[in-house]
Subunit: 446 residues, 2 copies
């Protein structure tokens, strides 16, 4: 196919949006508006609703002439043959499971856009050089079985299949991944492994789940990687005391110290071009007239590079220790009363390394966007890194991978009101189609 | 009585400590050490344990020759006659009820020290000019029936007796103050009122419940009043967002804003020579990777003067609004990233005005301490204001009143480990005895 041929292929926006909402009949969630599509989704992995969405996926891709394979984690691979079928397919895909109070786009857009790609190829009688596949990964959300991206993790060899099979559903039930895979008849006989089901590459279209594209009036995020992050629980111990009878200099106020630490984490992250966030804070004993003796808070630090996260962690360990000891950090003590020292303790809860996507894939996405936007590509696209995890994190460990983002209204995700306009969904699908076809050409040219 | 006669009277430390621990057999609480007295107290007002302590109080004061009166709030007044009994007695007293996880000194010391005063007067055949009384106030803690100092409040005419009678116990029970007063046979026929049971003055010995005397190596606090305080609930509203996908400038981080507010309240209170404290903080939604959209926190501001509290409230209202709007206050924004604005809302929960105790009573306490400490009085006493509320707040609205503080180990109170040494308890009782006798002489001299 020439560049001109590739550019002439157009996704059908109405058909794509129709497919998104058609699949949302299974696991419809909370209503937030009056229109028929104005509801969220609640389609936990391997539930009856998920089985119905899977059945649709298998039936639809089979109708489109694909050969489908289900592996031992319930990952479904649908492959459309190319001219040469002795090599692995170029894949596009994402996941059909959702959060319990999720929306209609997270994961679903990536799968339905990949199916739309197959439809465009079929209706235009396109013959690719190599096979092209669509994949639906199991339990990406980690909402039912408590490891996110678990099945792409097993495929990549990063998580043991037995361990994943034995994961018990959250919420007090007794079902395991394996028992639910059996129950809904999606326990495939093929081992979940890159060795058994190889890929040439993996492209994933996804909603941004953040506000940046919308805020900057851009249409497409060219995702170059996934940021590194570390999660910590910080405990600050001072002493409880009566707010009325204890002057400032006799207090070891754990909340005042924690407030300084939270502010300092924001300043240090700003300086490091990183992110630092506290989403949980609890304290004891919790009474209006008692100064808190113990405060515990979460700290989530993220950056594009592992070194940045490591350096920020080291700096904040020094800064928090100094703040607890009553030393001045960044003039935070200015105008206050020196009190008694607190103790601070760090616990590391999670470490996730930075992911760099493959240059070949990134360049196919960039070219595809340029093919659509022409001279406006620079204004309408943004080179970015993903703040959240995706199945592409694991595929990138085995095969060339990259992602495409489209705008999320108000940056909202994991919420029933999650929304991406039909135009933006279609633009994302168009970029995905162009990227996969360009990758196919690139393979052939080598 | 001459000054010399007054100074020659000595409280009996062992007898006083014996009485404290004897009364702690009723309502013994959590054990914290191995010695027999190393437990806390759990003697909720009008419980069976409280009835036993009351029965001891009535029997003991009757044995000492007192006439006892119980009013309609269960306040017990025991009066030892003087030479002239046509005028109201000079009272000393406090309360025998405790917090559910309280200690052995809060309230109990003030009552048992006043009983010790009666014992010293009797064994020395002292005849005071006017009658001297000891009072046990009902439900000072507000721990069982949810208004603190409610019965001295009724006596002072600040709280309606019917309203107090209808207070229902906390914790889901159905008992009211009145039903419990009837049940334990302490519903007196005399109305609870300063008109029915008049006092000439009210002295109260109490543990400091703060760390200041201990920290400064002083023995006696000469309490000149009770500080003003106001309690608020502050709500900061920003927007929830994903910690990984939302850059700083697109966040309305309610916890970052609240952290700045807490730090600023500390700075502004330092400048105003006031106190500001946050004891409760809750946030939503509460997930490591979600920036909190809503934070709610308590703010307790206190100062010796009402004007100081008012001015601090006004300043913090301006400062918090500026912080929420993203404006810089005190360089708190320095080195950070400007984000989106939050909203801030104040709710006033409680307003308590400053109390100034009576000069006559304060001077009797001062003279009494000087009589004991001599030249060392300046080093060993401290003129202070009370940070917490006491029954003396209400008596001061009707009659000359003041208080005496003794050191609290580590400033701890409302806790089983609350502790004041036998020597310090006896010193406080000695100052109380001297103050009451000096007040009696002052009345006679006028």
């Amino acid at each position: 196919m020439s560049e001109k041929d590739v550019s002439s292929l157009k996704v059908n926006q109405d058909r794509l949006i129709g497919d998104i909402h058609h699949t949302c009949q299974w696991g419809t969630g909370e209503r937030w508006g009056t229109a028929s599509t104005e509801t969220g989704m609640s389609r936990l992995s391997l539930s009856d609703a998920d089985k119905e969405a899977r059945d649709w996926f298998v039936a639809t891709t089979k109708d489109l002439g694909c050969k489908t394979t289900v592996d031992a984690m319930g990952n479904i691979f649908a492959v459309r043959p190319g001219l040469n079928n002795n090599v692995p397919p170029t894949f596009a895909g994402s996941h059909l499971d959702t959060q319990p109070t999720g929306g209609r786009y997270d994961g679903i857009l990536g799968v339905t856009a990949a199916v739309e790609m197959l439809k465009v190829l079929n209706e235009n009688w396109v013959e690719t050089e190599y096979p092209v596949g669509v994949v639906n990964w199991t339990n990406e959300e980690g909402a039912r079985f408590p490891i996110s991206m678990v099945s792409s993790g097993v495929w990549a060899g990063a998580i043991a299949q037995d361990h994943a099979h034995n994961l018990v559903e959250v919420g007090g039930g007794t079902a395991t991944m394996k028992s639910e895979l059996e129950r809904i008849a999606y326990l495939g006989s093929v081992p979940a492994s890159h060795a058994s089901t190889p890929m040439a590459a993996h492209f994933e279209l996804h909603i941004e789940q953040g506000p940046i594209l919308e805020a900057e009036n851009r249409k497409i995020g060219i995702v170059k990687g996934v940021q590194a992050y570390r999660w910590f629980t910080i405990t600050v111990r001072g002493g409880d005391c009566h707010t009325g009878t204890t002057d400032f200099k006799n207090r070891a106020d754990a909340l005042l110290a924690a407030s300084k630490m939270i502010l300092q984490s924001h300043r240090a992250a700003t300086k490091a071009k990183a992110l630092a966030s506290t989403g949980i804070l609890t304290l004891r004993p919790g009474s209006t007239n008692t100064v808190p003796g113990t405060v515990r808070f979460s700290l989530d630090i993220r950056a594009a590079k592992d070194e940045t996260v490591e350096a920020l962690e080291e700096q904040l360990k020094r800064d928090f220790a100094a703040i607890a000891a009553g030393e001045d950090v960044g003039n935070l003590n200015e105008g206050g009363t020196p009190g008694k020292r607190c103790e601070v303790e760090w616990r590391t809860d999670s470490v996730s390394e930075a992911i760099n996507f493959h240059e070949d894939c990134i360049s196919c996405v960039t070219e595809s966007a340029r093919g659509i936007f022409g001279d406006r590509a620079e204004d309408l696209t943004k080179s970015m890194i993903s703040g959240a995890g995706h199945d592409s994190v694991y595929t990138s460990k085995r095969v060339p991978t990259s992602m495409i983002f489209v705008p999320s209204k108000d940056g909202v995700s994991h919420n029933p009101v999650e929304y991406t306009s039909p135009e933006d969904c279609a633009l994302g699908a168009q970029v995905l189609l162009g990227a996969v076809l360009r990758y196919d050409r690139m393979r052939a040219a080598r």
